[in-house]
């Protein structure tokens, strides 16, 4: 690296910190407002005089936020586990096995990335209605049990395993599935980790699909829950901000704990800079 002068470094650090403050400010503003009294909110104060938990209490009274969190957690974990499983299986086949039609099938899988999800969401909704699955966990989970993104990245992962490894295992009498189970899966854990975190966040943050396929309060997910809080009383921003903080905590926590894995994995195989 070329050495940058001391003054320049200081300037870069200063600009970076200012930008970081700007980026994080909406969240701090939300956190601060969630503790304010109604009076303070109307006076557009930046910080509350005391930490009042009233907004949290009334948010929990208006909407069963813990139920929403439970629903979202269950759906996000189920989808993530399913995507990692189906993605590993397909990634292994595309990355390590020889078979006729491998290339066209892989291209067919990739083609699903070209079809904008929100453009086919109405047809999927009608399918769910016909299958009488509306307002169930099945409706929330089924369409998101696999993804081209996951298959593509797992294929990269399996292609990165040395070919000799598999040859040696086969000579030792390991069949193809045993190799996948006992060697492939453990060796691709770093990829599974980053993909898992990414998928979890994607599903946790979904809006349109859960909005369409659920209609009872017990089945709603967190993001729809926020809209509910917002609609319950047009001016009650305190409880809305409190509710937002409560549903932000799980996803921000997952991000902070997993960011190293997430960032190294997401950027390792997918794009060549």
């Amino acid at each position: 690296m070329v050495k940058t002068s001391k003054g320049a470094v200081l300037l870069i650090a200063l600009v970076s910190f200012m930008l970081a403050v700007v980026i994080v400010s909406p969240l701090l503003y939300c956190l601060s407002a969630s503790f304010m009294t109604e009076k303070e909110l109307y006076a557009t104060k930046l910080l509350p005089a005391a930490l009042s938990l009233d907004n949290y209490r009334s948010a929990l009274r208006v909407a069963p936020i813990f139920r929403f969190i439970l629903n979202s957690t269950f759906v996000a974990i189920a989808c993530t586990a399913a995507q990692l499983f189906t993605g590993s299986l397909a990634g292994y086949a595309f990355g390590c096995l020889e078979f006729r039609g491998r290339k066209p099938l892989f291209l067919l899988f990739l083609a699903t990335m070209m079809i904008p999800g929100n453009a086919i969401i109405i047809a999927n909704y009608l399918t769910m209605a016909q299958m009488k699955l509306l307002n169930s966990y099945w409706a929330l989970i089924l369409p998101y049990m696999t993804s081209a993104f996951c298959v593509f990245n797992m294929r990269q992962a399996y292609m990165s395993l040395p070919a000799e490894l598999r040859e040696a295992a086969i000579i030792d009498g390991c069949n193809s599935f045993q190799f996948f189970l006992h060697v492939g899966l453990p060796l691709t854990v770093p990829f599974l980790g980053s993909l898992g975190i990414y998928t979890f966040l994607q599903i946790w943050n979904q809006y349109l699909w859960p909005l369409l396929v659920t209609n009872s309060i017990e089945m709603r997910t967190v993001q729809i829950g926020i809209g509910m809080l917002q609609n319950s009383d047009a001016m009650a921003y305190g409880p809305v901000m409190a509710g937002t903080i409560m549903i932000l905590i799980p996803s921000v926590l997952v991000f902070i704990l997993g960011q190293k894995t997430l960032i190294s994995g997401l950027t390792a195989g997918s794009v060549k800079g």
């Binding site: 397909a90 086949a93 453009a119 009608l126 049990m145 809006y207 967190v222 937002t244 960032i263």
Partner: protein, 298 residues
């Protein structure tokens, strides 16, 4: 590991030729059910008149498309398209530029860089619904912090000039995280000797990044451009929660119009026709971007 008895080797051989397909079968089934089938169904519905439940009742050929593109709904549709293009242009330029600036800054060495990187990447973990409600609060004319900081008295989300940019700014914030992550990874792969050569030539900070960094990360920028454009065209949550497509139709993007057509007017055929047009637009845009990439990248 057990050795297979010789007798079984022939059946194993044939199983070995079938088994690769078994690995891809789960994904293939799911894609068929929830991507290919609905895609075909969308095209089918776009050629039909539908009833309240979304079943086709009469084949009408290209009538829905005629209505969307040249008939009675065309004015609304092209207005929505114009809104979507404006929105996408603002969101994509904003979030790519900011993502790149963040990446260039956080690629330099200084104390506290780790924290700065975490903050720059963090928006990717925040849902559009969350940031949208925070935006609604911040932009509230009387209680929001924006008017009070700027000393203005603007009804941000109720004004035809400010509503779309307001939603776009919130979306830019959301997109910074992912763009930052991919761009900083690309920056770390830039050949250091290029910068050394640049330093010898006496390039300053801006020349260095304009002449070396930008061309070096252009493949990543193109990749992100495609993703950002597709996402911008599909934005829904922030529009629903911030403006409901208003004021008037000034934030009614194509996806929002498609949704209204299906679930408010129960006209699934029309809504499917609009979805097909949206798909074609996105397909053409992506092709153009690929063509551009071939021309521009070194």
């Amino acid at each position: 590991m057990t050795t297979q008895p010789a007798r079984a080797s022939k059946t194993r051989l044939s199983f070995e030729t079938v088994s690769p397909y078994l690995y891809i079968l789960p994904s293939l089934l799911l894609f068929t059910l929830f991507v290919f089938y609905p895609f075909a169904k969308t095209i089918y519905l776009s050629l039909n008149l539908t009833d309240q439940t979304g079943s086709a009742i009469q084949f009408v050929g290209l009538d829905n498309f005629k209505s969307v593109l040249i008939g009675q709904s065309s004015r609304d549709f092209f207005f929505s398209l114009q809104i979507t293009l404006k929105y996408a242009a603002m969101v994509v330029t904003g979030s790519l530029a900011l993502g790149l600036i963040c990446a260039i800054l956080a690629n330099e060495e200084f104390r506290g860089r780790g924290l700065v990187r975490t903050v720059f990447a963090m928006p990717m973990s925040i849902s559009s619904a969350c940031i949208a409600v925070i935006g609604v609060f911040a932009l509230n004319p009387t209680m929001g912090v924006i008017n009070s900081l700027l000393g203005t008295n603007i009804k941000w989300l109720r004004d035809i000039h400010y509503a779309l940019p307001s939603v776009a700014v919130v979306t830019v914030w959301m997109n910074i995280g992912l763009n930052f992550i991919f761009l900083i990874a690309a920056l770390q792969n830039v050949d250091a000797s290029l910068y050394e050569a640049g330093a010898i030539e006496g390039a300053n900070f801006f020349q260095k990044h304009w002449h070396i960094t930008l061309p070096s990360v252009s493949p990543t920028l193109f990749f992100l451009l495609i993703i950002n454009v597709i996402n911008a065209f599909q934005a829904y949550a922030q529009i629903r929660l911030m403006t409901q497509g208003g004021p008037g139709k000034y934030t009614r993007t194509i996806i929002y119009a498609i949704y209204l057509e299906a679930f408010q007017n129960n006209r699934y055929g029309m809504s499917s026709a609009m979805s097909v047009v949206l798909f074609i637009i996105l397909f053409v845009l992506t092709l153009i971007q690929f063509k551009m990439e071939k021309k521009v990248t070194y």
